[in-house]
Symmetry: C2
């Protein structure tokens, strides 16, 4: 019998057609598709452990999933074999063997999300699945000013939806940049972890600052309030993509 090994996958997906990452009773999920494809491939009953449990409609370019197997397939060959069995909106970009005690959620990590906004008079049908449309003119300079207050270690309780199971609402944002390229605005945020809906609430709040409904200088008060009602709305899922995920102990 083959020895047991732990394999780590790098997974990219278009979240449009899925009820999020995490397995649910009703509805297709990324994790569910990976479990099915892996179980078919190996003949074992496999359940992956994901690093980032993205929400329904959110996209990912580099999420991490690990699983244990006694399969003879070499770690680095899983990507090819899995892509044959996965739908086109999920691709395994790399696979490799990792130490048996490697757990993608019990490690220090650094995540980068991008939130895409299409700010024009009419929506662009080719961008509708991957950005949030608004015809309200947004001033990126105001958004950048608001963003600057969020960088650093803060209690982000105001930027966290109910239903979070986190022990603490303190997180560190390493960088938070707003850039416009024509009609597209990209919010790029890197941090050591994010609370439930945190990036989408940040995006919704920065959009309020950009449109003039709020002053950038109000952000410190919003943070201090430690109250979800103080921040802006949760921006739609389709604009969000998990862009980079570095895990410190990954070898």
């Amino acid at each position: 019998m083959q020895e047991r090994k732990r394999v780590c996958l790098r997974v990219a997906y278009d979240g449009t057609a899925y009820c999020g990452w995490q397995v649910q009773k009703n509805g297709r999920t990324i994790e569910g598709e990976l479990n099915r494809a892996l179980s078919e491939l190996t003949g074992e009953e496999i359940q992956v452990i994901g690093a980032s449990r993205t929400d329904a409609g959110v996209h990912g370019l580099c999420n991490v999933a690990v699983f244990d197997t006694r399969s003879r397939i070499p770690g680095e060959k899983f990507s090819y074999a899995l892509n044959q069995r996965l739908p086109e909106d999920i691709r395994v970009r790399a696979s490799k063997e990792v130490p048996e005690d490697f757990h993608p959620r019990h490690c220090r990590s650094r995540k980068t999300y991008e939130y895409h906004i299409y700010n024009a008079v009419f929506p662009d049908p080719l961008r509708r699945l991957y950005s949030c449309f608004t015809y309200v003119p947004l001033e990126e300079e105001r958004m950048s000013r608001a963003a600057a207050y969020l960088v650093g270690e803060h209690d982000f309780a105001s930027f966290c939806s109910a239903g979070s199971q986190a022990e603490t609402t303190v997180r560190t944002i390493y960088s938070l940049d707003v850039a416009r390229d024509g009609e597209e605005i990209v919010i790029r945020v890197t941090g050591n972890g994010f609370l439930y809906n945190m990036v989408r609430i940040i995006a919704g709040t920065l959009m309020e600052a950009g449109s003039g409904r709020m002053e950038p200088e109000e952000i410190p008060e919003i943070l201090e309030a430690r109250d979800r009602a103080a921040a802006g709305p949760t921006a739609p899922a389709c604009g969000l993509v998990l862009k980079e995920l570095e895990i410190e102990d990954e070898q």
Copy 2:
């Protein structure tokens, strides 16, 4: 009774879910959706005339459609009213009244298409609907060299699929550029008109040149052959987008 007027629409669409522009007995089309929405809106039986009858799966950012109506709705208001009645993958970006004899296919025009290629080890799920994926490394410098031979007035019979109803296969390409940005290659071509599948056959042929399966210097022979079999394959529809369409007599 209101006087009859001719209205011109600028239409953007994601072609993924459609059997092309032109109305068909079976299957949804862009033209069919516009006819339905316009007929519902005006209470008249309206049939639009399109400028460019793009194929199944091809996208458009600025196609032109005209129609005649006795509706009281001002020409420039149609865009807003139609977007309420169209699916999200079709958007009318502008509308205006035009002279009654304006016909979008009986005018001199200048069209720009882009063909998008994603050239990487694994497909990117977020680009799969809007680009052609190939893992075969493409050298853009070889593609540019091949492209240069196609610029100008030529008989493009070798770059035309069977089924074309064109009177002549002579066309003029004003510019044909190949540019790489990371893993994405964009072929951008501007001309006074294109034969059936012409841009997709050009893209397929340039990809052969880029991969080394063909020499860029073979293009003149391919043109001279006036034989579809001499050129490369027809590249997939999803990579193609009608980017710009200028009509000379549009006022």
